[in-house]
């Protein structure tokens, strides 16, 4: 599998996760989720609304940069993507830095809106291509945003699952644990166990992630590629032939 076809497979995988959404918001520097949202909209007209944040042309917000947060609080954003320098087994994410705050080494950019959006968007997909024990840790050094909250805390959203370049996990909110759902064809259960720093549930016979639907790939290459070039020009160069 080439790097390009691996990224296309991730796009198709995410697109299917977004099919039940009305409105998906994506960061401007998240080309794979963004491409997935555009693909899902093109194929199923669902999500109906795709908002590429930080972009001007593909962003329909008109009330300034706070509209994203208001919109989430209104329950009008169905899916969003978060990453993290560290992600732990309870779906806590760390965007702040490794080591002891505030003198982290390295220090990452900061928490952005994660400490808010993670609470208010129902389907937050954790997406981080790198699948290593450096990233997927037992316990994050700093909780930028917690994966779960106690029952007294107002929370209408949270983690749906975690997608990496090796596997897809679903998050079980009650048990506060990930469970392995499928393993990409370039990996194996042993590889996953070796490279995941947190404990998770799994079946011995966890299935291989299904190959992307050829029809989805065709639409991606033929119809959606132009739109993706428009929004993510540099990324588009790496996955489309011309």
């Amino acid at each position: 599998m080439t790097a390009a076809s691996q990224k296309k497979a991730l796009i198709c995988f995410i697109a299917k996760l977004l099919r039940d959404c009305n409105h998906v918001a994506v960061g401007a520097s998240s080309p794979i989720p963004g491409a997935a949202a555009l693909l899902a909209k093109a194929v199923w007209s669902s999500p109906r609304h795709v908002n590429i944040l930080g972009s001007t042309k593909n962003n329909f917000f008109t009330n300034g940069s706070q509209e994203l947060f208001d919109c989430a609080a209104q329950g009008r954003i169905d899916a969003f993507f978060l990453g993290g320098g560290q992600i732990d087994g309870a779906a806590n994410i760390n965007l702040m830095g490794r080591g002891e705050y505030p003198l982290n080494t390295p220090r990452w950019p900061g928490t952005f809106g994660s400490a808010y959006l993670y609470f208010l968007i129902p389907k937050v997909i954790l997406f981080r291509e790198e699948h290593t024990r450096r990233v997927l840790v037992d316990k994050v050094d700093f909780i930028s945003a917690p994966g779960t909250s106690d029952d007294n805390t107002y929370r209408t959203g949270g983690p749906f699952g975690l997608l990496t370049n090796k596997a897809f996990f679903k998050f079980n909110k009650n048990e506060k644990r990930f469970s392995l759902k499928s393993i990409h064809s370039n990996s194996s259960l042993e590889d996953i166990l070796d490279n995941t720093g947190f404990a998770f549930d799994y079946e011995k016979d966890t299935p291989i992630t299904a190959a992307p639907d050829p029809e989805l790939l065709t639409v991606l290459d033929n119809e959606v590629s132009a739109k993706i070039k428009d929004v993510y020009p540099q990324f588009a160069q790496t996955i489309f032939v011309n």
Binding site: Q66, G110, T111, I143, N152, T153, Y154, R155
Partner: protein
């Protein structure tokens, strides 16, 4: 009201609480270089809700004593070398927030409120480390329902770049309405623009919908390509070559000082 960039930044004094927008909005980069040239010290810089090269340069040049924001990111040019160095040295006080809390703090000021409540955040280490926030009980709930109270931040000034202004001092910000919130939340606003036009922007209802009225504006300077080397939503794209050069030069303090000498003090543009 309409003035030179030197006169505009001269309003920004040592110790000012200065609000600046995120990179997708409009960053007054030429004004930022002029602030460094004029030697302003001890800024309390607020990235609304994040900042990028602007904060990185001001921190590196020693203009900032407090940086309050939700992130400092150079995007694909991360990590930010001077910001990282300042973190390691503990030379700048960092107040880490989350984006909607920065907006809420400014909006409280915009509305003359002592605070705004905000959902989320509870359970984040951001809350445990923030010097100002409090957790209160929702007064309308009979059961336990905690909510974070974010106190108002009133900046001394907001500083940003916009597409247009008119001779009356009105500024067209279009959809970038966070600039309106920032200006109204602050004591005043200093704005660089691509172009100053004749007449009054409010006379055209299509334009009027995106105008920051002159009441909220302290000074305006016409600075074409004022966001260079950053992109501008109603202008050019970023100067990637220059940003790569910055990343290379700023990796060391010596290289950063050389960068300042060349691109800030001597004012080279490529």
């Amino acid at each position: 009201m309409l003035t030179s960039i030197e006169a505009l930044t001269a309003h920004i004094k040592d110790g000012f609480k200065l609000a600046v927008p995120a990179d997708y909005s409009g960053i007054a980069m030429e004004a930022t270089r002029q602030i460094i040239r004029q030697g302003t010290k001890n800024l309390h810089l607020i990235g609304v809700p994040t900042s990028g090269l602007q904060a990185e340069l001001l921190i590196g040049a020693g203009c900032v004593s407090i940086f309050e924001s939700s992130a400092l990111t150079l995007g694909e040019y991360n990590p930010a070398p001077r910001f990282s160095a300042a973190i390691n040295e503990g030379s700048v006080k960092i107040v880490d927030a989350t984006c909607p809390a920065i907006h809420a703090a400014l909006q409280a000021s915009q509305k003359g409120l002592p605070f705004m409540p905000l959902r989320g955040i509870i359970g984040s280490d951001i809350l445990n480390n923030h010097p100002d926030w409090k957790v209160i009980q929702n007064p309308f709930s009979d059961t336990e329902d905690k909510i974070v109270a974010i106190p108002a931040i009133q900046p001394d000034a907001a500083l940003f770049h916009a597409p247009l202004a008119d001779q009356e001092g009105n500024v067209w910000v279009g959809r970038r309405r966070e600039q309106i919130n920032m200006a109204q939340a602050s004591k005043t606003a200093y704005v660089t623009v691509e172009k100053i036009i004749e007449g009054n922007l409010l006379d055209d209802e299509e334009l009027a919908a995106g105008v920051l009225p002159s009441l909220y504006v302290g000074a305006i300077a016409e600075v074409p390509s004022g966001t260079w080397p950053l992109a501008f939503w109603q202008g050019g794209s970023e100067d990637s070559e220059h940003l790569n050069l910055y990343k290379t030069m700023a990796a060391t303090e010596e290289g950063f000082n050389e960068y300042l000498q060349k691109f800030v003090y001597s004012g080279e543009k490529s």
